[in-house]
Symmetry: C2
Subunit: 340 residues, 2 copies
């Protein structure tokens, strides 16, 4: 098969690779219906994460089960499935508490590289969720979004306790931030402030349910959020970037007693203890336990209640994956869908 491999920062190649094999009786092999490029892939592409050796890329996937190990019983060959970037047994105490991304037997489901034709998914029973049938093609992008960016934005909104009566602010206008807006809306938030200075992203935020757009950043952004909330700050803030500036902006935008859900993968962040202490907020975040939300998210997509697939504003054949990275790196695209 062919798939994407990163060789160095800025150097992603579509090249021939070994077909994946069943390695453990709990594995499944799926034939990808679609894959995509993640904001977090750009950390490698931009050289912020080191690239030590040629590495298969991609960790977001939907597709049809092609082969299963002897111990797999929750999905069968021919099922259309959605899975999370973290494989989980979904039975351990941590999974049962809803933290499948920290499963006692967690494995990175993207280890084999999902920007490819085939993917081996470990712990298939606890990782994959079958859709009610083979989806209409127009549902595929939304189901693919559920695999990571929707699940992650949703987790951010849940961690921030977005809901009725709440004013929610979202820091970050990437796919995760935009889908956090969608999640906050679905969870019933009264008011949703999207922080974005990019017109196409602002438009999508409004479409997903944002009621206000704030273009300011840093201290000015915080001042604007305070001005919009009677000087108090938002009840719920979702951080979907992962930088020091974004985290501080998010902390300072949250009112005392409020909730900050942080889902941007943290890079070089150091939180000053004293400021955090006196901020008196709730913090919760980390890699999203997407598996917790998948059945509900698939259901909402299947019933066409939500259309998170709109974050894909560029579709390319998998063979043009390099252009996909380039378009996202240059912010010409919010998110790139790849068709194997």
């Amino acid at each position: 098969m062919y798939g994407a491999v990163i060789h160095a920062p800025g150097d992603v190649r579509y090249e021939q690779r070994e077909d994946p094999q069943i390695l453990a009786p709990t594995d499944a092999i799926i034939r990808l219906a679609a894959s995509c490029v993640c904001g977090s892939d750009l950390w490698d592409y931009r050289g912020i994460n080191p690239v030590d050796q040629p590495t298969p890329m991609g960790h977001e996937y939907v597709g049809i089960v092609e082969q299963i190990g002897n111990d797999v019983s929750n999905v069968k060959v021919g099922d259309f499935v959605v899975g999370s970037f973290f494989a989980s047994d979904n039975t351990c105490e941590i999974c049962q508490a809803g933290y499948q991304s920290r499963c006692e037997h967690v494995e990175f489901a993207g280890a084999g590289g999902a920007q490819a034709h085939l993917l081996r998914v470990p712990l298939a029973d606890g990782t994959l969720v079958a859709t009610p049938g083979i989806p209409d093609p127009d549902l595929v992008p939304s189901l693919l979004a559920a695999s990571d960016v929707l699940g992650t934005g949703w987790y951010g909104a849940v961690a921030a306790e977005a809901g009725p009566g709440k004013t929610v602010a979202v820091v970050g206008d990437g796919a995760v931030g935009l889908l956090a807006v969608l999640a906050a809306k679905q969870l019933g938030a009264d008011r949703i402030i999207a922080m974005s200075r990019h017109e196409p992203r602002q438009r999508l935020a409004l479409e997903f349910g944002a009621t206000d757009i704030v273009t300011e950043r840093g201290d000015d952004g915080v001042a604007k959020i305070k001005a919009l909330t009677g000087g108090l700050g938002a009840h719920s803030v979702i951080e979907a970037v992962g930088t020091q500036e974004a985290m501080m902006q998010a902390i300072q935008s949250t009112r005392p007693g409020g909730h900050l859900g942080f889902v941007g993968v943290s890079h070089g962040v150091n939180l000053p203890g004293e400021e955090l202490f006196y901020a008196e907020i709730h913090l919760h975040g980390g890699p999203a336990p997407v598996r917790r939300f998948l059945p509900d998210l698939i259901d909402r997509i299947w019933r066409r209640e939500i259309d998170p697939g709109k974050v894909f504003d560029l579709t390319l054949p998998l063979s043009e994956v390099a252009e996909g990275y380039k378009a996202m790196d240059e912010r010409r695209a919010i998110k790139v869908l790849l068709q194997p």
Copy 2:
């Protein structure tokens, strides 16, 4: 009147001061029945917080209302009252959400110095809670504890979501840590692990409801908590120190999805974002909104359900306040009660 004034690190004096006056119609003057020395007073005493000028000390207080401003209606002259170290209106949106320590009109109630005979308490209506009558003398230490250390330990336990089915670990064996043990027990926790290497404090922890004592600190302490919790970490961890080591120990002792309540006043702490991200825990803390808990805590004390006053293991006349600081600084006393 006389009261305690710090002149420099290590130099606390009992000296004559002006009697406090009603300055605003929302003030009350109380005649102190008892006051005490707080672990946080030691930050000044040890020169970790700068002492720029002679400063009246003390922010924990119980006593009898001696005078009220024209706008005070919730307490009257002659009432025995307990108040928090932060004065709050208890009516603003933040107070109503339970965060009186971040009241929109918050003032430091200890500004006048509670280690004295008289204290002016601002925002008396929203700060002071009257007891059902004049307490028996043996209840006074417990009511005094409610003013800060009990309220703070309780907040830590609530922030850590201590309760039925939970294993709770407490980092810090000062008065706040010990009372966090008491709080976790009252809130119904199954198992309470106190981290302490001091025999008298261990004994008090066990008396307050601890089921296990861990004497190790740092990485060894974390390993011990993991060993006691099937490798997962505690569901609920309360941090009651405020140092980098204690915070990291607390973070690492919390299982994924678990809750960390941090109430030790943060000094020189910097939290590494990446570790926090992958820890996948809930964090909540800050200066305790003691006022939220006061009615319930006074009720439990009044009905003699709890005896938090046991943390006072040294009682001195107020005139010997300097010795009180010395005894706490040298860890000869857990907490010193001062009798005006």
